[in-house]
């Protein structure tokens, strides 16, 4: 019985279609039960994330028949009646195993090499395992996929570095400060990227956050959300010297921080390093401040260039990852082939 995959992802379909097929976590066990009872699958795992909905199944049916049955199940289960073109893809061995490995490694993700998908895949597998919908073959394929993902993470640079502006800003902070836990962050403005950057800094252990915005209500709301405090917009220059990282996202049409303001503040800071992240357009911080000693200024273009650099590095690693995956798929299937010739009644790979 081969392992097949049927589903749709960000590569094959727009979000408007994907969202119609998405499973809520609580619906998955019942759907798996119904799928197995239909006879289309002996073992099954349903993976449903914002970027993909896939059914991994070990089926007793011939591949074409299995695909038709599984697609019918998916359409009926999600009550989808509109016509479909090529939104749903279906793969059989060895492509199905290769696809599983690629998904686990983040090679099929929207953000190349991201690691969140591995956690989602593990969770989907756990749900199926807990409810008894997996057997020897899926267990082996998924365990191997997790091992391959771990191997690729350690052996290649596919998951190294940050590919978003917010995480690059955090990484820069970690290259400047020896310990983020002792650093105070000031967010100027209540923009979305500023909020993301502040959240990323907090998640890496930043000590405290203060938010300052022309609209005090917005500042209070964001400060409350981030667990920080609001600073009246007219007061932030007075408190400036206390902060180590400043993230600026205001809509001001001119510089709100320049060299003249910053020089006395640096003296008050006793020349401790200061990271300025200016993600506003037009820019909020005069570029000349970067010439001051111990001041490190990055604007949105600098951060984007770094994020793109990481992405390029990841893309360069894809070929290495694909090679490893091909070898691992081959090893898994050949091992199974060997077993099959030794004992013909045995399944494609592993024990049932």
């Amino acid at each position: 019985m081969p392992l097949v995959v049927i589903g749709l992802s960000h590569r094959s379909s727009p979000v408007a279609v994907r969202e119609r097929f998405a499973f809520e976590e609580t619906q998955v066990p019942a759907a798996l039960k119904s799928l197995r009872e239909s006879g289309a699958a002996a073992e099954a795992v349903i993976l449903s994330t914002c970027n993909r909905v896939e059914i991994y199944a070990v089926t007793p049916l011939e591949a074409p028949k299995a695909f038709a049955t599984l697609q019918e199940f998916l359409l009926t289960c999600r009550d989808y009646r509109e016509p479909l073109a090529n939104e749903i893809y279906s793969l059989s061995e060895p492509q199905s195993v290769q696809h599983l490995f690629r998904v686990a490694c983040g090679l099929d993700s929207m953000v190349l090499g991201e690691t969140e998908i591995l956690g989602q895949l593990k969770k989907a597998y756990d749900v199926a395992l807990q409810h008894g919908h997996t057997g020897g073959r899926l267990n082996k394929a998924f365990q191997r996929a997790f091992n391959v993902a771990k191997h690729i993470r350690t052996e290649t640079n596919i998951q190294r570095g940050s590919v978003s502006v917010a995480s690059v800003a955090v990484e820069l902070a970690e290259k400047i400060f020896s310990d983020l836990a002792a650093r105070s962050v000031l967010v100027l403005g209540a923009g979305d990227t500023g909020e993301k950057t502040a959240r990323a800094l907090l998640s890496r252990g930043a000590h405290s956050i203060a938010v300052s915005n022309r609209s005090p209500e917005k500042a209070l709301a964001l400060a409350a959300e981030l667990g920080g405090r609001a600073v009246p917009f007219e007061d932030w220059p007075r408190e400036f010297a206390r902060f180590d990282i400043v993230v600026s996202t205001t809509a001001a049409p001119h510089y709100i921080l320049d060299r003249v303001k910053l020089e006395p503040a640096m003296k008050l800071r006793r020349n401790r390093p200061l990271l300025l992240v200016d993600i506003a357009v037009p820019r909020n911080i005069e570029p000349e401040v970067n010439f001051l000693e111990n001041v490190y200024l990055y604007d949105i273009d600098d951060l984007q260039t770094m994020a793109d650099g990481y992405l390029r590095q990841r893309q360069e690693e894809v070929a290495r990852c694909e090679k490893i995956i091909r070898e691992k798929v081959e090893a898994l299937l050949n091992h199974a082939g060997g077993r099959e010739s030794a004992a013909e009644a045995r399944p494609a790979f592993g024990h049932q």
Partner: protein, 255 residues
């Protein structure tokens, strides 16, 4: 040194445990060689310029191996190796390895203590300047928004600055103790006041004042960062470039 060049070319994106192991191996051989020499001479092998230079190298590597236990500071090795190689070549120059110390009349234990403390202090200054060089490299990458700033596996600049500062402070304490032991050595000489204006003594005082200035600048006036790093590197370059010359021109150390 060849592997260090490789790490430089790779932008410090490779973990450098190989560099660490190579220096550990070299340190092992160096220790054995120094012990054999020490046993054959029956005193600590720090009595002439050759021995003092190799002892400085040994202390730099020993300090590096200790600091390098923390993986990201292992890159200090890549920065230190070319300097160590140059020092090793210098130590092999003829006429540095004289058969006995400069002043046989001073008890060998005292000259050994003086020379060992001075060598240890130069070792600490050397490693401090290496950390400062690493700081300047990474600081420049960060200032000019180079991708290498985030791609490399180097530690944060604040930590590099702290390491450079602590090593320099340790070197300064050792230098002070070394000069103090040198003053005691002088008391064993028949006519010590003759050497009051000795070039090496004047030079040592200048070096001590130079490092005192850096210590005050760093801890009293909070002038850390780039200026301190440049000061640490410049001071050590001054020491390296003038050490041999002042020794040769000093009647006290080269009668």
């Amino acid at each position: 040194m060849v592997y260090s060049v490789f790490l430089w070319r790779k932008g410090f994106r490779r973990d450098n445990h190989v560099n660490y192991l190579l220096l550990l191996l070299a340190f092992g051989f160096h220790t054995i060689a120094m012990m054999l020499r020490g046993f054959s001479l029956r005193h600590c092998p720090v009595t002439n310029l050759y021995e003092a230079t190799t002892f400085v190298m040994w202390t730099i590597v020993a300090a590096y191996l200790l600091v390098g236990l923390w993986s990201r500071l292992r890159f200090l090795g890549a920065f230190a190796s070319p300097g160590l190689f140059a020092m090793g070549v210098f130590a092999l120059m003829p006429s540095l390895d004289t058969p006995h110390g400069a002043r046989p009349e001073v008890p060998v234990a005292w000259t050994s203590l003086h020379a060992a403390l001075m060598s240890l202090s130069y070792g600490a200054f050397g490693l401090s300047s290496v950390a400062a060089l690493m700081y300047l490299t990474q600081e420049r990458n960060l200032k000019f928004h180079k991708l290498q700033a985030v791609f490399s596996l180097m530690p944060p600049i604040q930590r590099l600055e702290a390491v450079a500062g602590r090593l320099l402070l340790a070197g300064f304490v050792l230098l002070t103790l070394g000069l103090g032991s040198g003053v005691i050595d002088l008391t064993h000489l028949n006519n010590p006041q003759v050497y009051r204006g000795d070039l090496k003594i004047v030079w040592s005082a200048v070096v001590w004042l130079l490092y005192l200035g850096l210590v005050i600048m760093r801890w009293k006036f909070a002038q850390g960062g780039r200026r301190f790093a440049l000061g640490a590197i410049g001071s050590f370059i001054f020491v390296v470039l003038t050490f041999w010359g002042t020794n040769v021109l000093s009647p006290l150390h080269n009668p």
